[in-house]
Chain length 204, copies 2
């Protein structure tokens, strides 16, 4: 991240607008984020916001990038320094269950995907790229695990990554609706068991 000392005043204002707008878009969606909401959150008038962004779409895209970066950092916390591929997958799952990231409103990928799947092509392209990176990151852990004989050779990295992401995202949807963590904890137990019984190579 760039230090504020390196940012021009315009960049700082732009950053402040994005930070304030991010939870509005993540909680309420693109249509639900009204100009009045955005003005109240940023403390700026419409003209003040649009001096830095050419359109609501551009602001929404910047807000998505910000929210996704924060979520991704939370999900990947301590993953790299964790031991085997199986341990890394479990750490990543535990992070997803425990951390919500600093921007409220749930997973920006799920929110923006559901919000943009029937329109808003620019936002859809952006969220699709984020999702693909997220799946690819997990694929890579599995593939490396196979190379190091920590994960069984027959495991399909893409299929494993898809299962983990789909299950966590669906469980998060249920947990947010129920306003408790039961579903997330429930699928965490089952995914951990799946990693131990279906993926991990037997050790001596």
């Amino acid at each position: 991240m760039m230090k504020s000392g390196q940012m021009t005043k315009g960049e700082q204002t732009r950053r402040k607008i994005v930070e304030a707008a991010a939870p509005i878009f993540n909680e309420r969606g693109y249509d639900g984020a009204s100009m009045a909401d955005l003005m109240a959150a940023t403390g700026l008038k419409k003209g003040g916001i649009y001096r830095h962004f050419s359109s609501k779409e551009e602001l929404a895209a910047a807000a998505f990038d910000y929210t996704w970066k924060a979520a991704q950092n939370a999900r990947l916390l301590h993953v790299e320094e964790t031991g085997s591929a199986s341990d890394q997958l479990k750490q990543l799952i535990a992070n997803f269950v425990k951390f919500r990231g600093p921007v409220s409103g749930g997973c920006p990928i799920m929110n923006t995907a559901v919000d943009a799947d029937d329109g808003n092509a620019r936002l859809r392209t952006r969220v699709r790229k984020a999702l693909r990176n997220w799946v690819a990151r997990i694929e890579k852990i599995v593939a490396k695990g196979t190379e190091r004989a920590e994960i069984r050779a027959e495991a399909d990295p893409k299929a494993v990554a898809t299962l983990i992401v789909a299950t966590l995202e669906g469980a998060l949807m249920i947990s947010r609706l129920e306003r408790n963590d039961h579903s997330l904890l429930c699928v965490q137990r089952q995914l951990d068991r799946y990693i131990d019984t279906e993926l991990t190579t037997q050790r001596p």
Copy 2:
């Protein structure tokens, strides 16, 4: 379903409004469904719509009920008449993957959950009830399977149901974003395998 012959003219109009409004709400969400959209879809003026519904919230709730009933019927198709509990679970998963229901825009539970999780208490209560019924339905199949010794005694019906629903919903989100069925087909294969290896009792 009530035959149209038994419906009053007012009930028929109400029904037509709900049918026309259902895809609008399912695709665009509560905030995204504008009065102009609803007027265009129903062919009625604002006053014509609000003669039958006291508020946008009431119309959104009726639209959700309609969309959910249609989706539920598609997901449960041929499930009851299918053989063992494992076969019933697989049929239900196959239905989820194959059928989208007559109302476009994806799963009404996911859409409405994501849309209403940060507000709109009335809609949230409704979608939570629908989700609980859906999970309970799958739990019942598992529990009956355990009674008939088709499913292993150690299987936890609630955990199995939560895993299946979470995985399917998450995969649907990915498939809708990617505009292909890869994720749904990928988790279907893995859930079927899970049913065969983790749930089904060994047969002679």
